[in-house]
Symmetry: C2
Subunit: 240 residues, 2 copies
C-alpha cells in the first residue's frame, strides 16, 4: 500500500458516500416519481443527500424523504449501491455549486468521487407536498415513462428500482403503500401494469391476486346503484 | 451546513467505504463460508477490503475474491449496504493494526467510520485454495451453523446473506454454482436444506424442483449396479 494522496476535507458529512431515493407514487393511472431540477442548470436528478458523521445511513435517507415529502414512516427499501468510477463527474457538481453561488473551495468534498446507496420509497401520492431543497427550484412528479434526461447514472438507478419493485410486487406492502386504504381490483391492476410496463389480462389478474389470500373484500354500502359498483378491497392486515 | 470538522487523510483508497464478502461453498453436506482470523487478536471476520480511488466497487470485490480464493468469474451478488453508526468501533481496527506492527498514524483512515457494501459469492468448494491476507493467519471454511464469534456486525451480515440466498434459491444459478456440473436430486436437496435451515420432504422437493423445468436428466452410464444408482442431473443451460 502507498499513501500518496493528500486530501483535506472540511465538512460534517461522510465523504464519498451519497444516497439517492426513487420515490414512487401512483396517480392518474400512472406510476410517477419525484424529480428535482437544479437552479439555472437544466439538470434533473433524483432526490438524494449525504450522511452525517454521526447518523445511521437509513436515518439519513428517512431524513431526506421527510424533507422532500413532509412524510414520516414511509415504506422504504434499499435496493443497490452504485459504485462505478464512470459515475464520477465532478464538472456536474461544479456546475450546480457555481449556479448557486457556492464556494468550490469550501465545498470541495462534493467534487470528490461518490458511491451512492439507492433506495426506493412507496407513498400515497395524495398525502405528499413535494418540496425542493436549497439547490433546486422544483421537486415534481414525473410519470416513469415520461422522465426528463436525468444526470449521472440516475436513469439507471430508476430502471433498477423498477426492476426490483416488479420482483417484489406480490409482497403485501408493496401494493398497500401506493394505494388508498380501500381500492378496487381494476385499480390494483393498473398499479401492477404501470410497474411491469405491460397490459395484464383482467380475468387472469383477478384470479391470481385473489389466490394470494392477502386481500379482504368489503361489503358494498347501500346506494341506488351499489349493485353495479365494483367491490372494494383492502390488504388483510392494514399495516399502513 | 457547517464545516466544522477537519480530517486529513493519506491513502490510496476511498475513505469510509469497505466491502465484505460472504463466500459460500458446499461440502460434507454442510453449507460453509470462508472466515479470516487476524494475527494475535482472536478476532474472526468475513473477507473484505477497500476500494481503490480509481476502481469500480464491483471490481474491488472481485479483486478481493480472487485474492482469497484464487478464482475468477465467481457468481457474485451485492445484497445490502450496512451503514449504522453502531458498527463504528475504531478500537477493533486499532487492535488489528497494533497486533501487526502497523503505524496508527499512517493508517489513521482505517480508524474512521466505514459503511460496508456486502456481497455473497457462490463457489465450487473443491476448486478453492483459501488464502489469508497479510493481516490474518488463516482463511478457513466454517459451517454456517458452527461459526466462531465474528467481529463487528459480521454475524448480521451472514444472516442477511443467508436470508437473501434463501429468497433467490429457485433461480437457476444459485444452485448451479455450489454444485459440480452433474449432481443427484438428493444432493441438491441437501443444498436447499442447508440454506433454508430445515429438513424438506423428499417427494415434495423432487416434484417441486422438477416442475421448475430447469433440470436436465442424463442417461445412466452402464455399470453392474447402474439401475440402482440415482439419476444425475445438470442445469438446463450450463452457464458455469
Amino acid at each position: 500500500m502507498n499513501y500518496l494522496k493528500h486530501i483535506i476535507i472540511l465538512r460534517n458529512f461522510l465523504s464519498h458516500i451519497a444516497f439517492d431515493s426513487v420515490i414512487f407514487g401512483f396517480s392518474g393511472e400512472k406510476l410517477k416519481i419525484l424529480i428535482m431540477k437544479y437552479h439555472n442548470t437544466g439538470l434533473y436528478a433524483l432526490p438524494g443527500g449525504f450522511v452525517d458523521l454521526n447518523e445511521n445511513l437509513n436515518d439519513a435517507v428517512r431524513r431526506g424523504l421527510k424533507e422532500r415529502t413532509g412524510l414520516d414512516n414511509i415504506y422504504l427499501e434499499q435496493f443497490y449501491t452504485f459504485g462505478d468510477v464512470a459515475r464520477y463527474k465532478p464538472e456536474i457538481m461544479q456546475t450546480i455549486l457555481e449556479a448557486n453561488g457556492k464556494s468550490l473551495e469550501e465545498n470541495h468534498w462534493m467534487l470528490e468521487r461518490f458511491i451512492s446507496v439507492a433506495y426506493y420509497a412507496l407513498i400515497n401520492y395524495d398525502k405528499v407536498v413535494p418540496t425542493p431543497d436549497t439547490l433546486s427550484d422544483s421537486c415534481t412528479w414525473y410519470a416513469v415513462d415520461e422522465l426528463p434526461n436525468l444526470m449521472l447514472d440516475h436513469r439507471e438507478i430508476v430502471q433498477r428500482a423498477l426492476k426490483t419493485l416488479g420482483e417484489n410486487l406480490d409482497k403485501k406492502l408493496v401494493g398497500a403503500n401506493l394505494l388508498p386504504t380501500r381500492f378496487t381490483i381494476p385499480t390494483l391492476q393498473k398499479v401492477y401494469e404501470a410497474i411491469l410496463g405491460e397490459k395484464l389480462n383482467r380475468t387472469a389478474f383477478q384470479r391470481k391476486i385473489l389466490s394470494l389470500g392477502i386481500l379482504k373484500r368489503h361489503e358494498k354500502e347501500y346506494s341506488g346503484k351499489a349493485h353495479k359498483a365494483p367491490y372494494l378491497y383492502s390488504f388483510e392486515s392494514e399495516a399502513k
